[in-house]
């Protein structure tokens, strides 16, 4: 193939957005601009200073500020009265604790300085999530310092019959307790709590309802009711299993987004990555999705489906396996049902060969495969049937007990929609006098059709422990804020037999009291104390001291953070009860277009909507921030003449509203989806007017609340809406940035098919006598979960800029995760995630253009950024081929953070002000800390002593940092790997971040080209990949 031809055909085989793929005029115009928005046009700076005016004023203030020997302002040093012996100003303390991010529980280590938590990372020794921590887990820090939290107990003055027009009055605990205690005497108490795995709190809650005459209902908006019901029918025990992706060689996911949003995504990612070694065992993941997700993007093969095809697909697979290929023996009675779906593959665009191949692959991996379905997208009318069918398929494949642990499953997945419906019935029957709502927000999470508000009118007293004056707290009579988990004592059992301690790392910031304490006080006031202890802390401590056998063991527990082990053995087969199959019925009828609701990695059910880090976390799939939108297929967009941001009228049988669309490659033509968690109305300043409230689409009539498969009509309104996307504005110019190959190809050639460039340098190169830092990113391990982005934001005091400025390309994240598509967007696409941070180039293009030497090379190879020297010319950013430099346009610094949010700032990192360029530093503060520690102990620095923030939370170990001068370091080994490459090698900027190419375990040829021409014309010579010395 000639060079020109090759370039022509391969140029856009990898693309970030559809606009880029087709090089639309708007895209080209945008991409040619170096900066998306011009500072000269900027008129909305609050201070209202035009540039020239600013210069004039600056002149005067320089004259005033630097003159005279009198310091202004005078600063004070305020020492302790009695310094606690464990606190040394300037030295961080680390505490073992645990947090729950609303989806998944984590054992964490909390870094504190001078008594305030600063950074959360996973507890590396804990066998569950290990060092991994989700983006939501890391964000717990900012939620702790949220200025909009309820700061005192509140008594709402309102007529209980007409809840809604309240006037919150802050009160002290005594007056609130008096009211509660008086009410409790009347009996008929119900507690409605979110998911909790705390054995101590459960104990208190149960005793409370026993002693005072009540009942506990557990409900969370995103729950596993379907799985629990199905497990009850199939195995006689309602449970949520733990999937062992590390033991599975073949995984088929039917909308089970286990890498992103389903069950325990962080731990799952960790286990999944363990069995994805391209040089050793590598599992295969096939995904069928009605909404593109992290799982579908990380799959080796994927097909878009409609929600109504989920159950038929599983039945079709059972049919193919049992009655066509006869590889497993199913009960004959099911044949009449499965036979109807023998040809389901035609509906989803597969050939029979492909479908048969899939079935036989599963058959080859009996006992080491997993079929998984679940999450909101599968909650159609048939959700329980789907789970039963999946359980049966797994049973036929002997997976239950082997790769799917039913008896050693997951805790904190006990809540059921049925439990909520029971409560609602009880209220409507007038059987509830007092309702205590513990840290959930049903008023937002339920659709209007549930008439929960009307029901609350029938309750004499509603008490809530919510920490924000959210939709539910506004309707309650009393708000008894429980405080943040990082302020309260507790314990957790995220997996049976594996306990973690929840240790507060800060004094309660506000006048709050944990739920356990409140229950103890109220029961004592009512004369029916649930415990003899004074406080919940004493209760937890006594419980564990007696259980573990002594004070010493309790201290060890605190130190280590957890007790127990994960189950590593093989379970006895769970014993599938085939009569459960009689419950399978296909009720969901196919519609031309079906709507599903789904959850996003960052926003989940909306509980962290007031945490700006989560709002500005680009959705891993769409890269859109601060919004939800209707995800539609490119073919549907063509048919209805829609583009990103076109407003459409969305109408289901239950609800109708307008939503903007986002055209998502790989989406099935007949499936549209929108994320829940947005459009909150109360509970803080940040969550207001963000996105659209789509909860009203939920149907709550069934045992399992319906979230997907609604027949929907979509009509263009003609209006447009601006969606802020952090990616898509840059043009790749056809260069090979994200590199992937198939396992087959890689095994054969031991090469990733990378185009090699002949490089010569006009520079002499640097010498490194001490350390020489380098960072490696394994694209094969990276799932795109985005935890690193939030960890970096937390560690490096990175501001949030808001939707308006993301639209102008002014987002500040130092690390971004690029998402590249390849393939035919109308059928199925592959995606690669690529974290990109400052590449710390050897021949850094930014360094040579800075007029004030604000960015220079260090003798350890870092590209140092000196904020106080920077005058803001932005030449460096202009000259950076990787576009990793961020310019601070506004005062996002400490003084402009609302109290107490400034407490989240890391004192080791300079808080940058306006007009300064900033970028990834390789966490230079951590490098220095590591070097200092080694020096203090009089030893050389060991590999692994220094971990960057992004590395320290990565669940899949996709990032490694270390010294390239250390021959044995892990990063050196990665740099020698066959899969290693650098971005834009032909520029010879010689980055010291190297990537390991992604390997896809698929028999087909990949959509993208592997020998694209980087637009240069030099010879094709072998080159040394290591930079010159």
């Amino acid at each position: 193939m000639s060079m020109e031809k090759q370039q022509e055909t391969k140029q856009n085989s990898y693309w970030k957005s559809l606009d880029e793929k087709y090089q639309t005029p708007e895209f080209i115009e945008q991409a040619e601009k170096e900066f998306q928005t011009s500072p000269l046009k900027e008129d909305d700076d609050k201070s209202g200073l035009a540039r020239r005016q600013f210069m004039k004023l600056m002149g005067a203030s320089i004259a005033l500020s630097s003159a005279a020997c009198v310091r202004r302002p005078v600063q004070k040093i305020i020492p302790y009265n009695k310094r606690p012996s464990e606190v040394i100003p300037g030295i961080a303390n680390y505490y073992a604790s645990s947090v729950h991010d609303g989806r998944e529980g984590f054992a964490v280590t909390v870094k504190t300085r001078e008594g305030r938590p600063l950074f959360l990372a996973g507890n590396a020794d804990y066998p569950g999530n290990a060092q991994g921590l989700s983006a939501r887990g890391t964000s717990q820090l900012l939620s702790l310092y949220d200025p909009d939290r309820v700061r005192t107990p509140v008594i709402n003055t309102q007529d209980p019959k007409k809840r809604g027009n309240n006037l919150p009055i802050p009160r002290d605990w005594e007056s609130l307790d008096k009211k509660v205690v008086a009410q409790l005497a009347k009996g008929d108490i119900r507690i409605l709590t979110g998911e909790t795995s705390s054995p101590s709190l459960k104990n208190i809650m149960n005793k409370f309802s026993q002693n005072l005459g009540g009942q506990v209902h557990t409900w969370t908006p995103v729950n596993e009711s379907d799985v629990l019901h199905a497990a009850e029918l199939c195995f006689g025990k309602s449970a949520v299993p733990k999937y062992r992706y590390d033991k599975a060689s073949m995984i088929v996911s039917i909308d089970g987004d286990f890498l992103g949003t389903y069950l325990n995504p962080t731990e799952s990612s960790r286990l999944f990555a363990q069995n994805r070694n391209p040089d050793g065992n590598m599992s295969r993941l096939v995904s069928f999705q009605s909404v593109p997700s992290l799982t579908s993007f990380n799959s080796d093969d994927n097909w878009g489906i409609k929600p109504s095809q989920q159950l038929p697909l599983v039945l079709g697979l059972i049919h193919e396996l049992a009655f066509v290929q006869k590889k497993v023996s199913a009960v004959g009675s099911i044949r009449s049902l499965t036979a109807d779906y023998a040809k389901i593959y035609e509906d989803i665009g597969m050939t029979h060969e492909q479908f048969a191949e899939l079935a036989s692959e599963l058959a080859q991996h009996q006992g080491d495969s997993i079929v998984i379905a679940g999450g909101l997208q599968t909650k159609t009318k048939d959700s329980v049937s789907l789970q039963i069918a999946v359980n049966y398929l797994n049973d036929l494949l002997s997976n239950n007990g082997a790769t799917i642990q039913w008896s050693h499953g997951l805790n904190a997945h006990e809540s059921m929609d049925q439990d909520f419906s029971d409560l609602l019935d009880a209220i409507n029957d007038g059987k509830v006098k007092t309702l205590i709502i513990n840290e959930i927000n049903p008023m937002y999470n339920l659709p209007n059709s549930t008439e929960f508000k009307a029901a609350l009118g029938k309750v004499e007293m509603v008490v809530t422990t919510n920490n924000w004056m959210d939709e539910t707290a506004n309707l309650a009579d009393l708000v008894a804020p429980a405080g943040h988990a990082m302020e309260n004592w507790g314990d957790n059992e995220f997996e049976p037999g594996l306990f973690t301690v929840q240790q507060p790392t800060i004094q309660p910031l506000h006048n709050t009291r944990s739920f356990g304490d409140s229950l103890m006080v109220w029961s004592k006031g009512a004369g029916k104390a649930v415990a003899t202890e004074e406080t919940f802390y004493d209760f937890v401590k006594n419980r564990w001291t007696s259980q573990l056998g002594g004070e010493k063991a309790w201290i060890d527990f605190l130190q280590k953070g957890f007790q127990g082990q994960t189950y590593e053995g093989t379970e006895r087969s769970a014993g599938f009860n085939t009569s459960a199959l009689n419950n399978i019925s296909v009720q969901q009828t196919a519609s031309p277009i079906e709507l599903s609701l789904y959850t996003k990695v960052g926003m989940h059910d909306g509980t962290l909507a007031n945490v700006s880090w989560m709002q500005e976390l680009p959705d891993p799939v769409s890269k859109i921030v601060w919004d939800n939108y209707l995800v539609i297929a490119p073919s549907l967009a063509d048919e209805k003449d829609l583009r990103d941001g076109s407003m459409v009228q969305v109408k289901t049988a239950q609800h109708e509203m307008t939503l903007p669309v986002y055209v998502s490659p790989g989406q099935n033509h007949g499936s549209v989806a929108v994320a829940i968690g947005y459009g909150r109305s109360k509970g803080g300043e940040i969550l207001k007017n963000v996105g659209f409230n789509v909860q009203d689409f939920i149907v709550t009539d069934n045992t399992v609340f319906e979230h997907a498969g609604f027949a929907v009509e979509i009509n263009k309104t003609g209006e447009t809406y601006r969606l802020a996307q952090t990616q898509g504005h840059h043009n790749m110019e056809g260069r090979q940035l994200a590199v992937e190959t198939t396992k087959k190809e890689y095994k054969k050639t031991n090469d990733i098919g990378l185009h090699k460039h002949k490089i010569f340098s006009i520079w002499n190169g640097h010498k490194y006598e001490g350390h020489k830092w380098g960072l490696g990113v394994d694209l094969n391990a990276c799932t795109g979960c985005s935890a690193c982005m939030v960890a970096c934001q937390s560690e490096n005091n990175i501001p949030v800029v808001g939707k308006k400025y993301v639209l102008g390309g002014r987002e500040m994240h130092w690390i971004r995760i690029d998402r590249y598509y390849s393939g035919d967007e109308k059928k199925s696409v592959d995606a690669i995630f690529q974290p990109v941070m400052c590449q710390h180039c050897e021949n850094a293009p930014c360094e040579t253009v800075c007029p004030v030497l604000a960015t220079v090379h260090s003798d350890e190879g870092l590209n140092d950024m000196v904020y106080n020297r920077c005058v803001g010319t932005r030449y460096c950013s202009n000259n950076c081929p990787y576009k990793v430099r961020r310019f601070n346009w506004f005062y996002y610094d400490g003084h402009h953070r609302k109290e107490p949010m400034h407490m989240a700032l890391n004192p080791d990192v300079t808080v940058r002000t306006r007009g300064v360029m900033e970028k990834c530093t390789f966490c230079v503060q951590r490098i220095k800390e590591g070097k200092n520690a080694a020096k203090d102990q009089n030893r050389p620095l060991k590999d692994g002593d220094i971990k960057t923030a992004c590395q320290s939370v990565c669940p899949t170990n996709a990032i490694v940092f270390g010294d390239l001068n250390d021959k044995e370091s892990k990063v050196n080994k990665w740099f020698d790997s066959q899969r290693n490459y650098t971005l834009l090698e032909e520029f010879n900027a010689a980055p010291r971040v190297r990537y390991l190419a992604k390997i896809r375990n698929t028999p087909r040829e990949l959509g993208g080209g592997h020998h694209d021409n980087g637009g240069h014309d030099s010879g094709h010579g072998e080159t040394d990949h290591k930079e010159g010395h």
Binding site: G59, A60, A63, S65, S66, A67, A68, C69, V70, R71, V74, Q75, K76, I77, I78, P79, Y80, N81, K82, R83, I88, P89, G90, I91, V856, S858, D859, E860, L862, D864, M865, V866, Y867, N868, R869, D908, V909, T910, V911, T921, V924, Q925, K928, N932, K935, D936
Partner: protein, 180 residues
């Protein structure tokens, strides 16, 4: 008219020149010689000089942390439980201590937020465990003779860098050595 306009433009320059006139040239903005009054007239001359108390007796963490830290009040009370309890300033100190309050000392040596200085490294480099004073003296001057502490060195970047260049073994000169 033209001349008037021209001379008007000179006014700011004249003002600046006047303001700088009473400062030592070369230390503009660096506060060398800054000697503020403290809420309690603590004398280093008395404590460190006359009584020969070791610097690290009060500045306990200077050997282990980047901040030297002003001692917490309980350290003062080690002696002032019994010593000098009839003196006015010490009465004030004791009152603060027993009330659970603290003393708001005026900061003398101030580095901007974008400069990270590590006391531990420098103290270990310039002195031995027996006597830390040589290290302290290098930057803070003869503290043992100061009744009221004043800023001895300019603490300018040039001043830091010169030392890193000249002292053997040489200190690192990366920007990120101090700016991070």
């Amino acid at each position: 008219m033209f001349l008037v306009q021209r001379s008007l433009k000179l006014i700011p320059l004249i003002i600046i020149a006047m303001l700088f006139a009473n400062c030592e040239w070369g230390s503009i903005g660096y506060n060398k010689g800054y000697k503020p009054d403290q809420p309690i007239p603590f004398s280093h001359k008395l404590h460190a000089g006359e009584y020969k108390m070791a610097c690290v007796y009060c500045h306990t963490q200077v050997e282990v942390a980047k901040h030297s830290a002003v001692p917490s009040l309980n350290i003062c009370m080690n002696c002032h439980q019994v010593v000098g309890i009839d003196k006015e300033p010490i009465k004030k100190l004791r009152q603060k201590y027993f009330d659970g309050e603290t003393v708001n000392w005026v900061k003398v040596h101030m580095l901007p937020d974008h400069v990270k200085f590590n006391h531990k490294r420098h103290v270990h480099r310039f002195s031995t465990a027996e006597d830390r004073y040589p290290a302290c003296k290098t930057c803070h001057g003869e503290i043992k003779q100061m009744d009221v502490v004043e800023q001895h060195s300019s603490l300018s970047m040039g001043w830091c860098v010169n030392c890193h260049r000249e002292q053997e073994p040489k200190g690192p000169l990366n920007c990120s050595t101090c700016h991070q």
